[in-house]
């Protein structure tokens, strides 16, 4: 199934990547090429096969329920594009 511009716009919106009409136009053939390629898996019989989520067969460990990190606010904020008084800053979200 080939994607159209409308679907690309929907996916781009879900992925929070703004596509200008020009970029969207340029992106479409590559996307369809990849989707056409992966489509071939539909020919493989996988009936009754348990999906493989991870190669590590064991269940994930739980760590001890103790505080072992923290008190590093400045390090956490060190790479933020904008901070004020120990907070990340984003555009106003409440009207």
């Amino acid at each position: 199934m080939a994607l159209d511009q409308k679907t690309v716009a929907r996916i781009a919106r879900l992925a929070r990547i703004r596509l200008t009409p020009e970029v969207s136009e340029k992106t479409l053939p590559g996307l369809n090429r990849v989707l056409g390629f992966i489509e071939q898996l539909s020919n493989i019989n996988t009936q009754g096969v348990e999906p493989m989520v991870s190669v590590s067969a064991t269940t994930l460990r739980l760590r001890d329920d103790i505080v072992n990190d923290g008190n590093c606010r400045d390090a956490v904020l060190a790479n933020a594009p904008e901070t004020i008084a120990g907070f990340f800053v984003v555009p106003k979200v409440v009207e």
Partner: protein, 487 residues
């Protein structure tokens, strides 16, 4: 004095122990070599001052008789590994100014063993590529030359790491391998590259691409050196929930074991159409070398091989679309917003400005295959195919101890021959991706030259957590090939 940059790691350690030269002299020689090879664009960030400090500390330890296992060895660190206080970009504009406040487990372990960091190696953006051309910092170039003189790609994604080791400007390097990103560049650059079993090295502090596949590994100019590096990098880490709690074997010692009595499988499905005749011949020669050293060659079948690349290009983009959601222009990384923009504008514009074309494509593919109505048809299906591929390997290993295959279907190509078609580029990893999906250890060893004089690699694949057999087979291929490196 001998050229310090041409020594192996094992030779350099011995030379320093015998006081023939100091760690500082070794590091200065490599810094000079790095400066002379800037045309390769092997580094995104040089860290010569860090290296000088580490070398000085190394000399002090050795003077006190307290030398560490890798004390004074100058390395390149792929820019996927977070290094405290040293910019870490993952080859992306979106992390162009990112300076980690913490150290990845793998680099911390290397530094705890005395390794010296010359710089952060160039790579494809977020490790998505097979040529290093998707780097936001320009492509790295292979030190190898073809007769027509065109600049060649070093392979990818760990292209800068491989180019640096092959050019003798670092003694070893770290890499990450999600679908072949260590093994393919090692083959293209005529060096050794090892990806251990998934879970052998901690992923903590490595920029995430596809978490169920990402695994750290090492580049070096000999199998033994690769073993020394991997031994330092591997080991259990509480901070990675998929880290394996197993003792770390002596990989370097395993390289000398020999192959007498081992059964080496040759998977018939790896004889793909369009493969260079040189590579087919090299593969047969490699099997002959192992037979001559006492191994038995057996034919095996991995029936779902052809499905591996398409399955990978569902699983990896799906995981990438989720992992890369963290780049939001708020907490770290590039921000692009104008006055009056709302939060969604900020997200969408920052991500559009920060991600390159290939990364954007994989995020979009991943978002699509995970989206409502398509999840079962694509993602679940790919996970089922992944299970079949893993089952194929398990079955093959009932009749053999390791597999021998080519690493890549062609030798290195020129920068200006890089395919525009994404699928053609993806198929470069046709021999490396299946083992990644199954989580198996793999290594590429240089085995000879193509008719055009470019290096060709053979890949050895092993059972889960049996890297020792992989090293044994690799050691046998290395000694028979007598490759000798770049002239």
């Amino acid at each position: 004095m001998t050229d310090l940059c041409k020594l192996t790691i094992a030779e350099a350690l011995e030379g320093m122990d015998k006081k023939k030269f100091s760690a500082s002299e070794l590091t200065e020689a490599h810094i000079k070599a790095c400066e002379g090879a800037r045309g390769l664009n092997a580094f995104i960030t040089e860290s010569f001052d860090v290296a000088r400090g580490q070398a000085k500390a190394s000399d002090a330890r050795r003077a006190e008789g307290k030398a560490l296992p890798l004390d004074g060895i100058p390395m390149a660190i792929k820019d996927m590994f977070c290094t405290k206080g040293v910019r870490t970009t993952a080859g992306s504009k979106i992390l162009g100014n990112f300076v980690p406040q913490y150290e990845s487990t793998v680099t911390a372990k290397l530094f705890a063993d005395g390794a010296v960091m010359l710089g952060k190696a160039n790579q494809d953006e977020f490790a998505m590529g097979s040529s290093n051309i998707t780097s936001a910092f320009g492509p790295a170039i292979s030190p190898w030359k073809r007769a027509d003189g065109k600049p060649l790609v070093p392979g990818g994604s760990s292209g800068g790491s491989a180019a640096a080791v092959a050019a003798n400007i670092t003694m070893g390097a770290t890499g990450t391998d999600t679908g072949g990103s260590i093994r393919q560049p090692a083959a293209f650059c005529g060096i050794v590259g090892v990806k251990p079993t998934y879970g052998r090295c901690s992923r903590w502090g490595i920029v995430a691409y596809a978490s169920s596949l990402d695994q750290a590994g090492a580049f070096a100019r000999s199998v033994k050196d690769a073993g020394l590096l991997l031994g330092a990098m591997a080991g259990f880490d509480e901070k990675d929930s998929t880290s394996a709690n197993l003792p770390v074997p002596d990989f370097a010692a395993a390289a000398r074991r020999g192959v007498k009595g081992l059964r080496i499988g040759i998977p018939k499905e790896y004889r793909v159409s369009g493969m260079d005749a040189d590579i087919v011949a090299m593969w047969e020669k490699g099997a002959g070398w192992l037979k001559d050293q006492g191994a038995t060659i057996v034919d095996v079948s991995l029936p779902h091989t052809e499905a591996a690349v398409p399955a990978y290009y569902i699983v990896a983009p799906a995981e990438c679309s989720s992992n890369l959601a963290r780049y939001d222009g708020v907490r770290y990384g590039l921000r692009d917003a104008a006055l009056g923009d709302d939060l969604d504008d900020l997200y969408e514009k920052s991500r559009a400005a920060g991600f390159g074309e290939e990364v954007r494509r994989r995020i979009l593919v991943g978002t699509y295959v995970l989206s409502a109505g398509y999840y079962d048809a694509y993602y679940l299906k790919a996970q089922q195919v992944r299970a079949l591929i893993a089952r194929d390997f398990a079955k093959a290993f009932e009749s053999c101890d390791a597999l021998l295959t080519p690493t890549a279907p062609t030798p290195a190509f020129a920068l200006d021959e890089s395919p525009d078609d994404p699928v053609t580029m993806y198929l470069n990893d046709v021999f490396t991706i299946p083992a990644s999906l199954a989580g198996l250890p793999g290594m590429s060893v240089p085995a000879g030259l193509s008719a055009g004089g470019l290096p060709l690699g053979l890949q050895i694949l092993g059972k889960p957590f049996d890297e020792e057999t992989v090293f044994a087979v690799a050691g046998a291929v290395e000694s028979a090939a007598a490759f000798g490196g770049r002239k």
